[in-house]
């Protein structure tokens, strides 16, 4: 965990005071909505269909139990008793009053949580691997660098009014759980031939109306230079990014229009001019940040404790363990994913009671630490294997032990037209219906890894382009229709899905998805061939044929 010091706390409190003043000026009419909108967005406040929506930052997806309890408190006190975890490791509340927001922010500030830059045309929450610091084989904990970048990009005086929003993701593992290839800047930690730590830097990825996979702009930037290099990219973007058309304002368009070579030359030229500057991180500066991350005092535990051997006789426990428990870098410990995708539930939602209960379980079993992943699930990152059976029982009682992580019902979905003022169609009821169709865990296991991602409009908050199956809501003559893509993926082999044909109406979506899955089961050449690999091998045609032959 990163521990805030007096300076971090002071800054957050100063931000709360500033926003309190801004809200007051808005409510008195001193600020027009046009002027206020940008100010509220910079504090994560949107206006949605029914109410204001409040997005709170969970930097690189790490939370303490104390912080999670405070998130529950805000849900209970200022909202309707639940929150929604997002694909950027944040949490959203859907029913908050503008007049209550300063108090909610002040309550959060007491535990070092803020909502700065969770919206607006600035640097958004820096995201990372939800298994950072505990995944086996990691180069090093990417959260050190995430925190360095978080501080550097918070209230940045030069880059708070960019052409458009700007998202950075960092990973330090071979397997990319942070989707760095679909970010404005993606950073992959690795070591060079001399054993020095640095980054492969990718730029210009993104989803939305014009999806792009990020391109490598520099294979290795030394860790000490990462701030200046990022600043060089931002400066080029701030000056040359398009501001005439909101749909062409993201850095991906600039990179595309200039070409990666020319863009890279511009950045290099700027970087060269910056030279050795105050942004260069010397060893002691990096160590200063590193020193404020604390790690659990792990015990020396057996690889296979008796408790686990005994519990293995319970098939329900075993099913959950095989699905939701992953290896930890320390022997005797595990990483446990808590599915927020119960059958029939809205993906990513958690009630205040669930949040409190998870905080208690984190204290008891995970050194008080919780993570949020971009797949909209929670993680207890340091669970002793001997505690797994007890933890499972507790999670099951809370409805948080659905053994569907990475399976067909582990659906990513945006809030869609039930909440969102940008949406063209609903997302959540589609997801709910699909989880009912595939509620049988044996079937889901037989299908294997399959990510369904749903967005209610082209802005792609549900990451539909990179779902193994992507579902995009569109409007046709006042009715909800859905375009289906297949073959997308968000990992180290990221690519965009391919459209299988004309959009289908709301009522037929679940049938179509079932047809696609059945086609896959018939077409895969062995049970281990994943859905995406079958699509890669055969292309979309056989799936298209199956779906449209009878429609």
């Amino acid at each position: 965990m990163y521990a805030y010091d007096e300076l971090d706390r002071t800054l957050i409190n100063e931000r709360v005071s500033e926003f309190r003043d801004q809200v007051k000026r808005r409510l008195s009419g001193e600020l027009t909505e046009d002027e206020f909108k940008m100010l509220r967005l910079q504090n994560g406040v949107y206006l949605q269909l029914h109410a204001y929506m409040f997005r709170v930052a969970i930097p690189y997806g790490t939370l303490s139990s104390k912080q999670l309890r405070r998130l529950a408190h805000v849900a209970r006190r200022y909202d309707r008793g639940y929150g929604h975890f997002t694909t950027r490791q944040n949490i959203q509340y859907n029913w908050i009053k503008l007049s209550d927001l300063p108090d909610a922010l002040a309550d959060l500030a007491e535990v070092g949580i803020h909502a700065m830059q969770t919206s607006g045309n600035n640097m958004r929450n820096v995201t990372s691997d939800q298994w950072a610091g505990v995944a086996p084989g990691e180069v090093e904990d990417p959260r050190i660098w995430s925190e360095i970048l978080r501080q550097h990009t918070t209230l940045h005086p030069e880059f708070s009014f960019l052409p458009r929003k700007f998202k950075i993701a960092i990973t330090a593992s071979e397997h990319d759980r942070a989707a760095i290839k679909v970010h404005d800047i993606g950073l992959r930690l690795h070591k060079n031939a001399d054993g020095e730590t640095g980054f492969e830097v990718l730029v210009g990825g993104g989803l939305g109306r014009t999806p792009f996979i990020a391109k490598i702009i520099k294979p290795f930037v030394h860790g000490r230079d990462i701030l200046s290099y990022v600043e060089a990219i931002l400066r080029v973007y701030n000056q040359y990014g398009r501001r005439d058309n909101i749909y062409k304002a993201r850095i991906k368009i600039l990179v595309h229009e200039l070409g990666i070579e020319k863009f890279a030359r511009e950045v290099d030229e700027e970087w060269k001019q910056m030279g050795h500057s105050a942004l260069t991180l010397d060893h002691s500066a990096i160590e200063e940040v590193r020193s404020r991350f604390s790690y659990p005092a792990y015990e020396k535990l057996p690889h296979m404790p008796d408790e686990l051997k005994q519990a293995a006789h319970d098939p329900l426990f075993e099913r959950w363990r095989k699905n939701s428990v992953a290896p930890h870098k320390v022997q005797g410990y595990s990483i446990v994913t808590l599915s927020l995708k119960p059958v029939g539930g809205p993906p990513g939602d958690a009630t205040a009671d669930q949040m409190d209960a998870v905080a208690d379980l984190a204290d008891k079993y995970s050194f008080g630490e919780i993570r949020v992943g971009h797949e909209q699930n929670l993680v207890l990152p340091h669970v002793a294997k001997r505690d797994l059976p007890q933890l499972w029982k507790a999670l099951d009682r809370l409805g948080l032990a659905t053994p569907n992580v990475n399976l067909v019902t582990d659906i990513i979905a945006c809030p869609g037209l039930d909440y969102c003022s940008l949406a063209n169609a609903r997302s959540i009821p589609i997801a709910q219906e699909l989880t009912r169709r595939f509620a049988n865990h044996d079937t889901a296991e037989m299908i294997g890894r399959l990510h369904i991602n749903i967005s209610g409009c082209i802005n792609a908050c549900g990451h539909h382009h990179v779902g193994h199956i992507g579902i995009l809501g569109v409007e046709k003559n006042g009715e909800e229709f859905y375009q289906i893509t297949i073959g997308g993926r968000a990992d180290e082999n990221a690519q965009m899905g391919v459209l299988i044909g004309p959009a289908v109406p709301y009522a037929e979506v679940a049938d179509v998805i079932e047809d696609i899955v059945e086609a896959y089961l018939a077409l895969r050449d062995r049970p281990e061939e994943l859905f995406v690999d079958t699509v890669k091998r055969l292309g979309v045609e056989p799936f298209k044929e199956r779906v449209y032959a009878t429609r």
Binding site: Q48, L49, G345, D418, E475
Partner: protein, 103 residues
Amino acid sequence: MTSPLQQKIKITGPSMVTANRTSDGIVIYRTAQQGWSASLSDAAIVRTSDEARALLAEANADDVGAVGAYIAPVELKDSGEIKPGNLRERIRSKGLTIDLLPA
């Protein structure tokens, strides 16, 4: 369901003006008495594009009280009841279409 930002002021049937209240964000409807109501049944109904434009202009003039006013279609029942004219407005008027807890 088209975003109101893309709407041109041209109506094809009975319409109303709706917005969200600044202080708490709730859905409100412009009334014929130059005020706002949380109830769709109180909404002023306009039938021509000129009337719609005028009602919207009047609503927009209240920048302190309301946010993001726009014109939306309604359905008028024989009984005189006012119903939302599209899915977006049905959801705004009636709330979520989903169960919040797993069924």
